[in-house]
Symmetry: C2
Subunit: 244 residues, 2 copies
DNA sequence: CGGTAAATTGACCTGGGTCAATAAATGTGG
DNA sequence: CCACATTTATTGACCCAGGTCAATTTACCG
């Protein structure tokens, strides 16, 4: 049975029936490649389909009219891109590839088909949306009420966790793959201040940076300065019931 | 057929079959009242069910460990509360009633039942989640990249729109129903600075305040200072297909 | 090996926070 | 309907986290 990135995300949390697996695999059949830096979708572009990210990392952002940018979300394999196509005519955000990517375009009608034939997978999509919603809410709290240092620390921990979920060999050391300007645009800071914060985290012995790699030397202290909560451990999809 | 607050939200956008309507009405059958200020759910409380807000307004927030508060979202009739019960074991946020409220507790299992029997309603929930997600993303952009004045203006416009969606008689004048401290906790500002921003909006002739009522004197100018976009007009649920 | 993007660092500035003192508004019990 | 107790709103004086500007330095790329 061909694999499904979407299914892989919840491998441990829910057992999918062969029928469900193959339905998801069919959903991801078509593929499209994006070069690093390529824009999949621009703000206000008409939304005709959504995508499942199969390989690579992407980001979504909005450009403010003073020219500044706010990065809303980083995406990893298994994430849905442009999911707002399921509610809106046109995109509220720009989606761009941070690395070379492969995405699977998914027709809106295919989502309807999925919901009809596999109600449990519709439930799974709803659950994924909740994970997304909680993550966004957490960022709101971070932006509204935490210091620059805490926001940068929180971003490092979030990215480490999400990379580790995909590649368990990653523990405390990983390639961030972001410029300081991108970190700033994600945390609501300037690149200059991001630099100061990274330096401070380094001086305080919480991280080390070398050759594009970041090492979390003291994850506990980092988690404390970031107000970090490990949500992944608290997931519970049992309401979806057993596979039919 | 008894009414459903949830169904009412999309009256114009999607035609529900009688079967779908009554399924939604059944979902909201049980009722629970909350007094103003009452807490429905606290951070870390176990999540056993979700709720549909039938009457009144509520808010969800997190408390930071320095004692400050970030309001994540205001809720109006037809909104789901504690939807994260569909993904997590326990709550990431506190939900409290801003006014006297009526909520309808909904079992997680009932959501499964709904998805099984009415796939189109599962799709509707997915669509509502997207609306929610876009709204949260917009707030992230506001918090990360806009001025205090823009954030306060944006909140006024958002609340006006959401109240008007429920009560078309509301046009430019409405009861805000929030203290300046609450506005501050929603916009990532202090109550003192909210006061300064409201006063500036008033001096600049964009709003008037009297007796707890706010009047938007110059909605166009307000929208400009807020970077406001009317998303509601761009909704499109046609992918759900026609009622069976 | 140049050329450009990214990272660093210092000097200085400002939007929004903090603190503190009043003034209004809203409730409450009598 | 009134006097008092609590919130809530306002305002001024002053402070600081993070922004701005500008100059180097370093890393990466064809």
């Amino acid at each position: 049975m061909p694999p499904s990135c979407f299914a892989d995300r919840f491998g441990d949390l829910i057992t999918l029936s062969p029928g469900e697996r193959s339905a998801l695999a069919r959903l991801e059949e078509r593929e499209r490649s994006l070069r690093r830096g390529a824009v999949l979708l621009r703000e206000k572009d008409p939304l005709t389909e959504l995508y499942i990210l199969k390989r690579g990392t992407a980001m979504s952002y909005v450009l403010m009219d003073d020219g500044s940018r706010q990065i809303l979300r980083f995406s990893f394999p298994g994430d849905m891109l442009a999911a707002s196509a399921l509610a809106y005519r046109d995109s509220a955000e720009t989606i761009a590839a941070l690395t070379d990517c492969t995405v699977a375009p998914v027709d809106r009608a295919a989502v309807r088909g999925l919901a009809t034939e596999h109600p449990r997978l519709a439930g799974l999509i709803i659950a994924v949306d909740q994970v997304e919603r909680v993550a966004l809410a957490e960022r709101i709290a971070g932006l509204g009420r935490t210091s620059a240092q805490a926001r940068v620390a929180a971003l490092l921990l979030e990215l480490r966790d999400r990379m580790r979920a995909l590649d368990p060999s990653i523990t405390q050391s990983f390639a961030l793959g972001l410029t300081q300007e991108e970190i700033g645009d994600a945390t609501g800071l300037t690149a200059v201040h991001v630099n100061r914060m990274l330096r401070r985290l380094e001086i305080d012995g919480m991280i080390r940076r070398a050759g594009g790699q970041v090492t979390l030397l003291d994850p506990a202290a980092l988690a404390r300065t970031a107000n970090y909560v490990d949500r992944a451990a608290r997931l519970d999809l049992s309401w979806l019931g057993p596979a039919r």
